[in-house]
Symmetry: C2
Subunit: 507 residues, 2 copies
């Protein structure tokens, strides 16, 4: 092929994949709408719409046309002559093609419809605290995942194939080791914390805080973080999420609890962290397949960086505590900054993952990880999940749910078929502490900046090291380039040890 | 073909067209979002998404697969053996196929992208009162329409082809005659009204009425009308619209003017009338192509029926005026029901169509009709529109805009390429008066029902006669079946004459 032919081929391929991205963006918007604005009677029909769009995107991904593009663009004579974005896009779709072309389109579509219906059933089941409403849907979803695993195959462990979808390169072998190491140290630290006589006062947390006033605070904090409201918005939902439709439209959702402002305050900052990633991808990647976060784990490192490392830092509240107090003055009457800081960092083994403290969070993830591995390999049955869930919670965290709403029904993920996703949450934790260690070299006055409410340098550092690259770098490349090492849970343990030594006055 | 083969063919065809409907529903949602929730920086990319989905739906509509289905299902041996819904669906797509298969997909896609961008430009232009920001986009849209007319062809007048898209069977010949007749009588009645010494008091209208309190009233009225909030929602926008994504999700939008409650009160009832049509289509039509209003004119007859014939009726306010007063008591202090009724029915030739009174409304439409006919046939140039618009307004209504924002930039429609649409507004007017005449036979105590806030029988009558049929009956069939005659503007003139005799105490 001569230069012009290569250019034409490259353009045709990129136009083709941009259309796939268009379908994905439409699906993202419909999904946001279903979780925030859509009236309930229209949802069944909307699931059909989702099914059709997903099938179309999927069909394009596994089409003979795609196969032909990938073959021609992999030709050694062509490969080096297209842009680096095109090269990475080809790599991405080669992997997707390999993964998916064996799944019949009709099965994929049926899965998407089932997942949309399961999402509705999950909401009902959670609302009515009735696992049986969700069970038949969950069984379908699990059956689909196992069917798909037969199409995909696996090397060492079937769960590796699921992990790889969210965190490329991650395996049961690595996770078992990292989690074992982490669990041991976390449980030991947790023991010290629980034994400490210096428990923070938390009564002030549970006083009524009007939802609209909480919302007002979110606008202040999100703006300070550098979240661009001309390229996003904030809405209410049942299970908070952020969605990057394109870098000019990255939406944050949150959930309000008027009896515990932490739910929405830390939830919003968390989702804001995800949103900053999507808003700050380099402009040249807009519209391309590379224009999103590189993995779920790296994405989670961003949300957790902001939620924990920034917003659970004492210095952050030197600036923002007065703002929060203004909105609900009585609640914080007589509560010093130090009391406030210690209160929001209270450790309490509890039932709900998204409300968990930093110390116990990863233990929640490990419960789910163990269950998913066992479900996928038929070691346990979906029917027994409530019992198994409750037992594991007792074993890992020492608490036992009274209801499935606060137990096995708490998370939306399984309804969407997202098995293999939860470990990313713990990896995000681990990564965020690794990133903080690296940031300390470039921003030695991190705490002082927080105390002045000066968050831009932090956002800019993260944009430079992580955000702007989108999918152009693999998770492990980012980690290596920025921190100089691979997955290392020790930084998280060190960070937590230092924090709780302070909060709980450990010796 | 045997019975089983016919059944399989019918099912395959209906599955195929349902997918087209799915794309249309997704497009409808994206459009709603663009006009209500979407942050501005993401809109350019979203236009690309719209373009891809529109192209896909369009390509399916004109595909060889569609052609093949239509041919096989039109076979005399097959035709009578499929369901009536399938038969009507085949008829519909035959017409669409004839209309569209000559337009190259790429041109259609380019048009949709241009229209989305023109929508943005129109909003900017209107906001900045700067026609020049919109002009290049408008010229593109007009050029597209003229290009498409070449593909489509026409019999008597090129504008007939545009009219037919919105009101099947309507022609310049009919409209010229109906409008001439109407204009003569309206202008005569307007003269009498303007000469009357009994002008209603309207000062109370322009007192500040908090937008959120106006909104509270909308919820009361929409519920009384029978609008189902489990199958819809109310939001704010720049140019109000209702959108029926499916009968379980029919959304109303409105615009607030705190200095004139009529804008949102009558605007919401108007859009609510559209919404009732879409919410009450027969369940067996859900998901099919027949599941929407039969024409723009009939649709408009529903919105105008509620806005004018119901909500500008004195008896309606016997029930609802106390509700409205409660929300902003000072505004209506000392204003009797009679004063209120006469005030909201004031006639004042004015600049903005959507705020026009019942008497002058059709004159606004005629201005647009004359301009569109002339634009399409190159009798005028887009550059000259502000001047021409202002001249025509002076000629028809005796008022002249000071700004393009209140002149040629006021409507969104041209940005979307909706030429041929405006006449539907006047036809809706004419139809609504014809429907009222027919309703009088079945609901002789119409006024008494309004006075008791009893709106269900009215909604049920409209559902029975109009809504439930969706697209299964043509506009003229509905008109004939319900009123026993074709388009007849005399009922509108009679209705208006009686009303203004009352409001303006004409002799």
């Amino acid at each position: 092929m001569n230069q012009t032919e290569i250019q034409n081929l490259e353009k045709a391929f990129m136009d083709f994949v941009h259309k796939i991205e268009h379908y994905e963006e439409a699906i993202g918007l419909i999904d946001w709408d279903l979780h925030t604005k859509a009236p309930k009677k229209g949802r069944a029909q909307r699931s059909e719409v989702m099914g059709t769009l997903s099938e179309q995107a999927f069909n394009m991904m596994i089409s003979p046309e795609m196969k032909d593009y990938l073959e021609r663009l992999s030709d050694p004579d062509v490969k080096g002559k297209v842009s680096i974005i095109t090269q990475k896009t080809v790599e991405y779709y080669q992997k997707e093609y390999e993964r998916n072309h064996r799944i019949p389109g009709e099965r994929y579509r049926a899965f998407k419809v089932a997942a949309a219906n399961a999402g509705d059933a999950w909401e009902d089941a959670k609302k009515n605290d009735d696992f049986s409403l969700f069970l038949p849907h969950l069984k379908k979803i699990i059956a689909f995942k196992k069917e798909f695993l037969q199409y995909w195959g696996y090397d060492e462990h079937p769960y590796d194939t699921l992990l790889d979808e969210y965190e490329p390169g991650m395996t049961v072998k690595i996770l078992d080791e990292v989690f074992a190491k982490l669990r041991g140290q976390l449980v030991e630290l947790l023991q010290q914390v629980m034994d400490s006589p210096h428990r923070p006062d938390t009564d002030f947390i549970f006083q009524k805080f009007d939802a609209r006033r909480q919302e007002a605070f979110h606008y202040v904090v999100l703006k300070a973080m550098g979240y661009d409201f001309d390229a996003g918005r904030l809405d209410e939902t049942v299970h908070p999420f952020a969605t990057g439709l394109n870098p000019g439209d990255v939406r944050v959702t949150t959930k309000y609890d008027e009896g515990d402002f932490r739910t929405s305050v830390f939830g919003t900052i968390h989702e804001g962290g995800h949103a900053l990633y999507e808003q700050n991808i380099a402009p040249e990647l807009i519209g391309t397949t590379m224009c999103t976060g590189t993995s779920y784990g790296i994405h989670e490192s961003q949300s957790l960086f902001w939620e924990n490392i920034v917003a659970r830092n004492r210095y952050f509240w030197e600036h923002f505590y007065p703002e929060l107090r203004k909105l609900n003055p009585d609640q914080f009457d007589g509560i010093s900054l130090d009391q406030f800081y210690r209160g929001i960092n209270v450790v309490q083994p509890s039932l709900i993952r998204i409300e968990a403290d930093e110390l116990t969070y990863c233990l929640h993830v490990m419960v789910r990880y163990e269950i998913e591995k066992a479900l996928i390999t038929d070691q346990i049955k979906a029917e027994d999940l409530p019992q198994i869930w409750n037992d594991k919670m007792e074993e890992y965290l020492g608490v036992r749910p009274d209801s499935d709403r606060e137990g096995v029904l708490q998370d939306v993920h399984w309804s969407m078929g997202d098995f293999g996703y939860f470990p990313s949450y713990a990896l995000g934790y681990i990564y965020s502490a690794q990133l903080k260690r690296a940031m300390d070299r470039d921003i030695p006055d991190f705490d002082q900046k927080l105390a002045r409410g000066e968050l831009s340098p932090i956002r800019e550092w993260l944009t430079d090291k992580v955000h702007r690259h989108g999918k152009m770098k693999k998770p492990i490349e980012i980690l290596q380039d920025v921190t100089g090492e691979g997955v290392n849970p020790q930084h998280l343990v060190d960070y937590l040890t230092e924090k709780y030594r302070n909060v709980y006055k450990l010796s």
